[in-house]
Amino acid sequence: MAEVSLSSSGTELTLQGIRKEFPGFVAVDNLDLTIRAGEFFALLGPSGCGKTTTLRMIAGLEDPSAGKILLGGVDITDTKAYKRPVNTVFQSYALFPHLTIFENVAFGLRRRKVSNAKELALAALDLVQLAHVADRRPAQLSGGQQQRVALARAIVNRPALLLLDEPLGALDLKLRREMQVELKKIQADVGLTFLHVTHDQEEAMTMADTVAVMNNGHIEQMGAPESMYDLPETAFVADFLGQSNVFRGMASSANASTIEVAIPGGTTLRVPVARASAHSGDVSVGVRPEKMSIHAGAVAPQTDTNVISGGRVTDVSFTGVSSQYSIDFGPLGNVVVFEQNLKALPTVDLGDVVSVSWKVERGFGLRDHRAAVIDEASEL
């Protein structure tokens, strides 16, 4: 333990083919992942997709069924949890109920015999704005306060890698934003590597350098937040990060730059080859609601614009800067369009027959149609 010291910078983490089986159930399946040193990495995914299990294997609290975990190039797969320079902010806080808040925060420092444990622990409590409750027990704090203690207790150790399992889930919006800024600052100042699990896609997108979307024990896609949003590869990611409209179809023809996709109703949509994750067979065309325009009546198709006609407006909600339209396209399903109210106020009304259009280079091609989970839900 003595060899573990306060880190002055983060360390690179690599997962190679990590798998975790529980009796009769695969929680994490063949996960490959590299998090660069000093990176803020966000892991997003629906409940039960294996996020906590992944963190527990990295922390050493769960043995992987297969695969390797490398920290700074060193294989730590078989290293005991207490010898790993990794700390966790637990989803359930897991504070020590018999110790004061101060003793909780100083616990890790004391175990490593850090000489100025007291000052460091008090500074960490200051950071999470809880210095005034240092002498209390965890049971005397609110949920949000406990969560911040859990954060301080992990961060104070300046680990080479910090694992955060929904560390801000119990905080109100204002405190959440404050702690996000604070976390980002600590991460940048010390250059620690953060692996941050969250349900909140906005939190992931604003804070992280890299976002990974996890589903059913595997990573669907990862990349910079902007590129993930701009160019999702699967319907699951397109739906999980923001909203999107997806049209299922078959690639009918393709040239060097554009794929043509035939969708039900005789319409053909175009998508750039460079923006499609599948180029033949089943290809779905997706587009973000804010990238679409809405027109009264029919509109003639153009080569650089996709047009779908014959929809009926089923819902209009005016939100000030923009309006949100729900349009029923029969067999194509429901399409959502956001339009900014730049000039005139809403141009179409409930029940109107309309067309929607978008620039071909704004759409994206997906290799699947709808994520299984969502499919099941919608069929119910």
Binding site: A59, A81, Y82, N87, A94, F96, H98, F107, Q140
Partner: protein, 267 residues
């Protein structure tokens, strides 16, 4: 409404009667500890402090009391240590035969004491162990063990495993996790188990009688001397133990209520 008035009157009366019923033998014992008894301590002969100031005058009473304390303390320590370890193992580790052990642990509690006492005596006899302090301590440890395991097991099962995981995550070795986290959190259960063990051991007559040989504990002393009449010194010891127990309970109640108030104030 009528019924409730009836009930309102009945309940206090019932409670008072029940308390009286429970308290009479204790009060009797206490009063007769001041009896200036000559041969038997059955008739009131007059008040004296003598029994309290010269407790050890009666033949063997202090020795028997001392034996009871030694047996109680040693058996409690042994049963608490062994039982705590066993309770943790039974909850935390999956080993072959775990369910059978869990079941067998109940056996000494379920077996009639006469059977347990006689069975143990037969064992000691066939092993050639002379009856005495050691055999009594072994016998007491054995039956206290069951109670310790059952008490501590409940506490271990209610421990949140993630708290210990947090300890491991925060650089505590397995030993440190046990002594700094698990053990402090188990203390209420362990203390309750130890108190129970001591009370059971101090109180035990049947098993002790089978295995003590010529050694006497306080209960066997009283039983034997009851033939001639229990000396008033025995009443003194019994009363003193009772008073000590009451004082102990009162102190712990006061301390915990003060602590609760202080916690509430610091909020």
């Amino acid at each position: 409404m009528k019924g409730s008035i009836f009930g309102r009157a009945l309940l206090p009366i019932y409670t008072i009667l029940a308390l009286l019923f429970l308290l009479i033998p204790i009060v009797y014992t206490f009063i007769f500890s001041f009896n200036d008894a000559f041969k038997t301590n059955i008739q009131w002969q007059g008040f004296t402090w003598h029994n309290w100031t010269n407790v050890c005058d009666a033949q063997g009473v202090c020795e028997a009391f001392g034996n009871s304390i030694i047996v109680g303390v040693v058996a409690t320590l042994a049963a608490t240590a062994l039982g705590t370890a066993l309770a943790i193992a039974l909850v935390r580790y999956k080993f072959r035969g775990r369910n059978i052990v869990s079941l067998l642990i109940f056996l000494p509690m379920a077996t009639p004491e006469v059977v347990l006492g006689a069975g143990l005596a037969a064992q000691f006899f066939s092993l050639g162990t002379p009856k005495g302090m050691l055999t009594v301590i072994i016998a007491h440890t054995l039956f206290c063990l069951s109670f310790v395991v059952v008490t501590v097991k409940a506490r271990v099962a209610s421990l949140d495993a993630s708290i210990e995981e947090a300890g491991r995550d925060l650089y505590a070795s397995p030993g440190q996790v046990f002594w700094r986290i698990t053990f402090p959190l188990l203390i209420p259960g362990i203390a309750a188990a130890a108190l129970l063990s001591f009370a059971l051991s101090f109180d035990d007559f049947i098993i002790t009688y089978f295995n003590s040989g010529s050694m006497q504990t306080f209960p066997t002393f009283i039983y034997i001397s009851a033939v001639r009449g229990v000396p008033p010194e025995a009443n003194v010891i019994a009363s003193a133990v009772f008073v000590l127990a009451i004082v102990g309970v009162t102190i712990s109640q006061v301390v915990s209520s003060v602590r609760r108030r202080r916690l509430a104030a610091s909020r």
